[in-house]
Structure formats: structure tokens, C-alpha cells
């Protein structure tokens, strides 16, 4: 579901959106949306990194696949996954596998 949201955007950012629109053969509005989604993705990945949201939930919010988010986190240098403490604590469970 989409919603109209009035927004004041600085002139310089609008010029940048226009440039991106030209470079990528799209509209200024589409370029602004891309800026917004890119920021939203980075923010969600940081939430994942801090354990505030799961990667599956983040993928659903962004309408992306888990593959896409793993790639994106790698490119942005955002570390995902369990912590060292969790690694050590859960290690004893592998005895049941060996």
C-alpha cells in the first residue's frame, strides 16, 4: 500500500535527483524514491545488525529477497549474524550432532 506524503526537499537534493534521473533514464520522482529506499534499506540492515529486527522481516518490509539483503549488507560492510557470545554459548549443542 502506498500513501502520499508531502515533503520539503532541499534544492540541492532535488538537483541531484534530477541528475540521477537523467543518468539512469528515469524521472526525478523515481530518483527521489530510490534515495529513500536506499536509506531505508541501510537503516533496516543496521537494525538487523543490532538484533532489533530479523533479516526475514526486513526483506518483507523492503519487498526484497534475503539474497538481496545479504549482498547489500556485504557491500555496505554491515555485519550480520550471531554474536561471539552466542557462538560460544551454542557451541555445546554440536555435541548432539557429532
Amino acid at each position: 500500500m502506498t500513501q502520499v506524503q508531502p515533503l520539503r526537499i532541499e534544492q540541492n537534493i532535488l538537483r541531484l535527483a534530477e541528475l540521477r534521473g537523467k543518468d539512469e533514464h528515469t524521472t526525478k520522482t523515481a530518483a527521489i524514491k530510490q534515495f529513500l529506499y536506499s536509506g531505508a534499506e541501510e537503516y533496516l540492515l543496521k537494525l538487523c545488525s543490532h538484533g532489533r529486527i530479523s533479516i526475514g522481516k526486513a526483506a518483507e518490509i523492503l519487498h526484497k529477497s534475503i539474497y538481496d539483503l545479504q549482498e547489500s549488507a556485504k557491500q555496505k560492510g554491515i555485519q550480520l549474524g550471531i554474536t561471539a557470545k552466542q557462538y560460544q554459548e551454542h557451541k555445546k549443542l554440536i555435541h548432539g550432532l557429532v
Binding site: 526475514g56 549474524g81 557429532v98
Partner: protein, 163 residues
């Protein structure tokens, strides 16, 4: 021996790190229909090769699929997760071990006293079982390196060498 129930995050990482075949050969591995959808159906749409690799193991019966009607009526998790993660919790039974790399999902399971391990633990288990040689484990770990935290990478590296 535990039956492993993998979520999408761990399944994709294990495939990317090239030890999914060894996991499927040596353990009793299952995924839910939702995890199959997230990893294979969505993965194929994005032309991810790992989707084909996972599907090959499912089609050969080495990775089993838990049918949704068997678990969908079960209680949903209290916290909001993705459909794959939620289905894994619903499909969980005693004697199973959930495999996930997700921090939030792991923390939730700790709270609910549900047993879970990560992809890194599975690699170590394969080394301990002598099903994967150290050279191969080092290679897989390098593939996994940028998908896990640096400190976890260092710990598992030491564990593999020290085993």
C-alpha cells in the same frame, strides 16, 4: 541425533560457503515450505545460483520439506518475524535443532528456550565428525567470512585449527 531445521538466512549462507552438500549428506535436514519459497522460488527469480543448488538437494530428497498443513495451525511467535522464520518456529518439534544466523531470531529462541545453532557451528560439527577436512573447512570459512561477524569468524577459525 538432532533433526536440523534450517531458516532461509542460514540455508543461503551455507550454500554460498559451499558446504551445503556436506550438511545434507551427513545430517537429517529439513526446511519448511515457506523457507523453500524464500530460498528457491524467490532466489530463482533473482537468478541466484544458490537457489538451483538448494533445489537440487530438495529434489534429490537430501533436504526434506515439512508440509505446511502439519504446522501452520500451531501457535505463531510472539515477536514479528518474516514468514520463513515464523514457519520454522511453528514447525519446530522436540529433538529438532534450528539453524539460523540471525541475531534477533537467535535471541528470541534463547528467551523461549528453543535450541539453535548457526552455520558456523555446522561447519565446525562437520570438521569434528571428520566429514570435512580442515583444508576444505578453511576454504568454506573464507566464503562465509563476509557473511558473519568478524569476531565469530576469528573464533571458528581457531576452533577449526584447534580441533
Amino acid at each position: 541425533m538432532y533433526k536440523l531445521l534450517l531458516d532461509s538466512d542460514a540455508l543461503i549462507k551455507i550454500s554460498k560457503a559451499e558446504f551445503l552438500d556436506a550438511v545434507a549428506e551427513n545430517f537429517n535436514v529439513a526446511v519448511t515450505e515457506e523457507v523453500y519459497y524464500e530460498t528457491v522460488i524467490e532466489g530463482k527469480k533473482g537468478f541466484y545460483q544458490d537457489a538451483d543448488n538448494i533445489d537440487k538437494l530438495v529434489q534429490s530428497g537430501k533436504i526434506k520439506i515439512r508440509i505446511g498443513r502439519g504446522y501452520r495451525k500451531k501457535k505463531k511467535p510472539k515477536q514479528s518475524f518474516g514468514i520463513g522464520e515464523a514457519s520454522v518456529l511453528q514447525a519446530y518439534q522436540k529433538g529438532s535443532l534450528i539453524v539460523t544466523d540471525d541475531l534477533s531470531f537467535t535471541a528470541y529462541m534463547e528467551k523461549e528456550q528453543i535450541k539453535s545453532i548457526s552455520s558456523a557451528h555446522l561447519l565446525l560439527a562437520l570438521v569434528k565428525k571428520k566429514k570435512v577436512k580442515k583444508d576444505k573447512a578453511r576454504y568454506c570459512l573464507e566464503k562465509l567470512r563476509y557473511l558473519i561477524r568478524k569476531e565469530v569468524y576469528e573464533l571458528i577459525r581457531k576452533d577449526i585449527e584447534g580441533d
